[in-house]
């Protein structure tokens, strides 16, 4: 591939990265959007409905994905990994690895014939591995680009997909390719992972069958989820009682994660409300230390959930074990009475928090919390310690979607000012930007 010149390069195609790219593209800048997964959409596209409006998540995300894909100034690079970032004048040379999809995306129509033909069923990370797809597949129904990708980890190289493909798009000869983009500025929108609970022995270290993470519950609540309904993953039972353990992996010195993850109170309340609709007979209990519904409209949302009958209990969950039928049993220190009680549920959701995504692609100073450092949050909240590189969304610390989107536009404003002031475009071209 040829070397390319861009005004800005956005790393990460989740909601924050997409919004930054759109804001820059709308101003006439040429933007490269680099995503390591085969589709853009990030974490948000896996969610069910979003707080506090309870819009279906697709209604917000998929049009943005579509807008990115069709934007004349945005150049999408999916299934790509950043290899290195080197200063070049006021800008950067970014070396990028294009991973092989084994599918020619200029030919693939996303018809999924290959997927239906593929003999092997594999866990789908889109469904938190509780759902499945095939070794070759379109990653999910609203993926952008809507193109197949082959997973070499599970492929038998049997060639059935190739024979089935009506447009001869399967290309087994693809190799990883490296190319370079010259960019005047970079926006880090690399997102988050859930706090690991595998080290949290008291909570079963991730081994209890019916203790799940919140993103799994998002998939159960989504219409495209693995079961098409809410079932517990241990044995397919429709749960009659569900507990949420707040601050599971946040504000927890034993895990070295002392900060608040900001989103867990609201997503737990939201999921409780949605469960109330999906399973009207279910009892839902939220165990918490502090309810932090601080955003616009959030406190009212919390009060609505209380009025709906969601049970809020102030207490610390000391441990979780399971009985012979794999029902989780919580041991709770009740803050309001001092009692220690044991309570059995059908299903438990650990309200895990946010840690930085595990792919540090660009060398940048980090804060003590592991997120990208922002040296002057009260004067330049999107500026990192490396000139020309800006940060947005959860790459800069826990943040909900609303705050991520605002921060994404702010990062775009910072980047565009930087490009104007330092960029390598000729003055004439800069004028032409607004012509």
């Amino acid at each position: 591939m040829d070397d390319l010149h861009m005004d800005a390069l956005v790393i990460g195609g989740g909601i924050a990265g997409m919004q930054s790219a759109l804001d820059l593209g709308d101003q006439g800048f040429q933007v490269a959007l680099v995503e390591r997964d085969p589709s853009i959409g990030g974490r948000m596209i896996t969610l069910s409905k979003v707080f506090p409006t309870l819009d279906c998540c697709s209604c917000i995300t998929t049009p943005k994905m579509s807008a990115v894909a069709h934007h004349p100034n945005i150049h999408l690079y999916t299934y790509c990994e950043i290899q290195s970032v080197q200063e070049h004048g006021a800008g950067f040379d970014v070396s990028i690895l294009q991973k092989p999809r084994y599918v020619d995306i200029s030919k693939c129509t996303g018809c999924r014939e290959c997927e239906y033909e593929c003999p092997i069923t594999v866990p789908s990370p889109f469904d938190r591995n509780l759902g499945a797809y095939r070794a070759i597949r379109v990653p999910f129904s609203t993926a952008v680009p809507q193109k197949a990708v082959l997973d070499p980890e599970y492929c038998l190289w049997c060639g059935k997909c190739e024979q089935k493909c009506p447009v001869e798009a399967i290309d087994f000869s693809q190799q990883p390719e490296t190319f370079t983009i010259e960019a005047d500025s970079i926006i880090m929108a690399t997102g988050f992972d859930l706090t690991p609970v595998s080290t949290k022995k008291e909570y079963g270290a991730g081994k209890l069958h019916n203790v799940i993470d919140p993103l799994m519950m998002e998939r159960f609540l989504a219409p495209t989820g693995p079961y098409g309904r809410v079932l517990r993953p241990g044995d397919g039972k429709e749960p009659g009682s569900i507990a949420y353990v707040q601050c599971a992996g946040s504000r927890d010195e034993t895990l070295g994660i002392t900060y608040c993850s900001r989103v867990c109170c609201m997503y737990a309340i939201k999921q409780a409300m949605l469960l109330n609709g999906a399973l009207p007979m279910a009892d839902i209990t939220i165990y918490y230390m502090d309810i932090r519904t601080f955003g616009k409209g959030y406190e009212q949302f919390y009060q609505n959930a209380k009025a709906m009958g969601v049970n809020f209990v102030r207490g610390k969950v000391a441990s979780i074990r399971e009985d012979a039928d794999q029902n989780p049993i919580l041991k709770v220190e009740m803050t309001d009475t001092g009692e220690i009680v044991e309570q059995t549920f059908d299903l438990v959701v650990l309200s895990q928090g946010i840690v930085p995504a595990s792919h540090p692609t660009v060398s940048l100073p980090l804060g003590s919390d592991g997120f990208i450092s922002v040296p002057a949050p009260d004067s330049a909240p999107c500026v990192t310690g490396r000139p020309g590189i800006f940060v947005t969304g959860t790459a800069a610390g826990p943040m909900d979607i609303v705050d991520s989107i605002v921060s994404a536009s702010a990062a775009a404003a910072e980047a565009s000012a930087y490009i104007r002031e330092n960029g390598s475009r000729l003055e004439v071209e800069k004028e032409a930007l607004y012509a």
Binding site: D23, Q27, G28, T53, D55, C56, S58, C59, I60, T62, P63, S66, A67, A69, S141, T142, A222, P223, T224, R251, Y259, C260, R262, D290, I291, R292, F294, G295, K296, G297, Y298, E299, Q300, R314, D336, T337, D369, F371, V374, P377, D378, S379, A380, P381, C382, P398, I401, V402, D403, I405, V406, S407, S409, A410, A411, A413, S416, R420, L433, Y434
Partner: protein, 672 residues
């Protein structure tokens, strides 16, 4: 031109991820619509607005020759533009598209009755199809846009918005109502979580703004009127006199004897009516407080000098307006937690000013005595409960969380502990909401510093009362503490600090002038918290900072920069497009009655002009599209039906009404 051919209508119904399909039998509706005249294809999809959904439409336009498109989905406000875009990409005029709201207008409100919801969906969709048959291609109104934005408010959000707009190469005018820049942030000492000096950060920002060649600033100025539309707003501004100049300021200030409570210190101190709010303020030239100046002349070296406010009025032409009008700290009504009755009860902002004014000493002094015990009460004016709290003037309680006060309170306890390690601090809260990056540390430090936390339930708020005569402390705070399992605890204290929340501001009509609305919480309202989080429903009017809701400094800065990004996208190209839904006159039918001109309330939108018709002078109505909002007042009064709103014509309405009222096959028959 496909649009001039016989209508070939494509009809698409969105499941909206269960939002619509949960109440409406989408497939049945699609099947029923298939039988309507001119309907070439009907389809349903899990998510029409997704790329795959949009591609379906594009493909049908190209392959099936669809030349009118109807989508039934969420409210048009959300995704009408999305689908117009898809239709355009496929080569069709965007106005050959009609959007039917099946979610907000149907499935969400009739979820309990699926048969009725399905029947209504069919009627709404039939009406959409009926209108689509009569759709004509239209062109948006393209106008030049001023590459110039107005920012209202000179606090941290307004300053940041102005700087970022200027940095995008656009001109900015910033107006600030008070004679000085800086807003609420100037009243702070240090900021969390970095512990930097608030005014140092602020002045760094002010310096950048004032030094930028694209920025013009008017202080002591306010908006008196707004007209126009995105790209071309005309703003009437009134600027008050400063009253003094650098030459005579010092002499006048020393001659000035009239003093008023100083709002900068929340009334803890007094200042003269010629004043600088604080040392190092911008502008450094003092100003006259016209609201309080009694008008009496000053005696300067024996000369009586009378100062007069001679406001200047002028107009600004701007393409966009950023509203950064900020907030007010909540002022408790007389008696709430003893406020205004007991001298030992202060608000957190007052305490910040008091500490700034206090010399460092061994102990904190208040009301003439050393403070040993202090109680800090959270959620004052926030998270209020109907029936427990006294409502605001409009009858509502502040049921929102003010977001900033928890960390601000613990930031204060850290400062108090540092300065006065002997002080006993009691923190009375419902939940501690130190959510931000670096905020939880304040909570941890407070615990380490020995701050005693007590937790009350929102319905059982603490009580503050004077202590009985002879008691060791002047005030008693009573609280039912949930951390000690509901024990009733009495705390004798010397000082009570109320962590007051954010109040939406009275904008003295500015919101009405700009035609922007407020939400249930009475803060200014965005279009949608995720799709368009800093934009208002009025195109070109954008929000920045705490006018929109409680925000800390960092959040205000982000919102302000986001606002700047939107302004740059809007005005950067120097032109804007407005929707073509404006009045149009059929000159064949018009006979110049002038009824339309009388009915029109928008200046310059419609006028009678004289034409020469076969040698005869006749009057005909003429529309100026840029000034017309498409309200339809002219349409209603025209005796000859000569005026129509483009895209919403009388004929289209009639067709829709007829379709809605039509006898439809019962949905059960269709399903069968």
């Amino acid at each position: 031109m496909p649009e001039n051919q016989q209508p070939r209508i494509g009809v698409y119904i969105c499941h909206c991820g269960g939002n619509i399909s949960g109440a409406v039998q989408c497939e049945s509706v699609a099947k029923a619509l298939k039988g309507l005249p001119n309907v070439t294809i009907t389809r349903t999809d899990e998510s029409m607005c997704s790329d795959a959904g949009q591609s379906l439409i594009e493909k049908d336009i190209q392959e099936l020759g669809i030349n009118r498109v109807v989508v039934g989905a969420c409210a048009p406000m959300l995704h009408e533009q999305t689908f117009r875009g898809a239709v355009t990409r496929a080569g069709l005029n965007p106005f050959l598209y009609h959007h039917v709201g099946l979610r907000e207008q149907d499935s969400w409100v009739h979820g309990h009755d699926k048969t009725a919801a399905t029947d209504k969906a069919l009627r709404l969709m039939s009406a959409g199809v009926a209108k689509a048959r009569l759709l004509q291609p239209l062109d948006p109104i393209r106008l030049g846009a001023e590459k110039h934005a107005l920012v209202i408010g000179g606090g941290v959000a307004g300053l940041r918005a102005a700087l970022d707009i200027a940095r995008q190469g656009l001109r900015v005018t910033l107006i600030e109502k008070s004679p000085f820049l800086g807003g609420r942030m100037a009243q702070l000492e240090t900021v969390f979580p970095t512990e930097e000096e608030a005014r140092a950060l602020l002045h760094d920002l002010i310096q950048k703004v004032t030094a930028h060649p694209n920025v013009t600033i008017f202080m002591g100025a306010e908006v008196m009127g707004v007209s126009g539309y995105v790209g071309n707003f005309t703003i009437q501004v009134k600027q008050h006199s400063r009253g003094v100049s650098d030459d005579n300021a010092e002499a006048l200030m020393s001659a000035c004897t009239q003093e008023v409570p100083d709002p900068f210190n929340y009334g803890l101190t007094k200042r003269k009516v010629i004043y600088r709010p604080y040392e190092g303020c911008y502008s450094s030239t003092p100003a006259v407080d016209w609201d309080h100046y009694d008008g009496r002349p000053f005696d300067v070296n024996g000369w009586p000098i009378e100062l007069k406010d001679e406001p200047k009025s002028f107009e600004l032409n701007v393409g966009a307006v950023v509203v950064a009008t900020g907030f007010d700290p909540y002022t408790p009504p007389q008696g709430e937690y003893g406020f205004g009755e007991l001298p030992q009860v202060v608000t957190l902002p007052q305490l910040i000013r008091h500490l700034a004014l206090s010399k460092d000493g061994k102990s904190l002094q208040w009301n003439g005595r050393a403070v040993r015990d202090v109680a800090l009460i959270h959620c004052v004016g926030s998270r209020q409960v109907d029936g427990v709290h006294q409502p605001q003037e409009d009858g509502q309680v502040n049921n929102y969380c003010s977001r900033v006060c928890c960390t601000a309170s613990l930031h204060m306890t850290a400062d108090l502990h540092k300065r006065y390690p002997e002080l006993n601090i009691y923190d009375l809260h419902q939940d501690i909401r130190t959510y931000g990056r670096g905020h939880e540390e304040y909570y941890r430090h407070a615990l380490e510093d020995g701050v005693r936390f007590l937790r009350y339930n929102g319905e059982e708020v603490p009580e503050v009362s004077p202590a009985p005569q002879g008691d060791s402390h002047p005030v008693l705070v009573k609280v039912k503490d949930m951390l000690t399992y509901g024990e009733e605890i009495e705390i004798p204290v010397d000082l009570v600090v109320l962590a007051v929340g954010f109040m939406p501001r009275d904008l003295h009509g500015l919101d009405k002038m700009l035609k922007i609305s407020r939400g249930n919480d009475r803060f200014l309202l965005e279009v949608h918290p995720k799709l368009r989080p800093v934009e208002t429903a009025v195109k070109g009017v954008i929000l920045a900072g705490s006018a929109q809701g409680p925000m800390n400094i960092q959040e205000s800065l982000s919102a302000a920069s986001a606002a700047a990004a939107k302004v740059a996208s809007l005005l950067g190209r120097g032109k804007v497009e407005l929707p073509p839904f404006v009045a149009a006159v059929d000159v064949e039918k018009c006979n110049g009655t002038g009824a339309c001109v009388e009915a029109c309330v928008y200046e310059g939108a419609i006028a009678l002009q004289t034409f020469n018709e076969n040698g005869e002078e006749v009057k005909r109505a003429v529309i100026t599209p840029a000034n017309c909002v498409g309200c339809g007042a002219c349409v209603a009064v025209c005796p000859n039906n000569a005026v129509n709103v483009q895209g919403w014509t009388l004929a289209q309405y009639e067709a829709m009404v007829e379709a809605i009222g039509m006898d439809l096959p019962a949905m059960t028959e269709v399903t069968a």
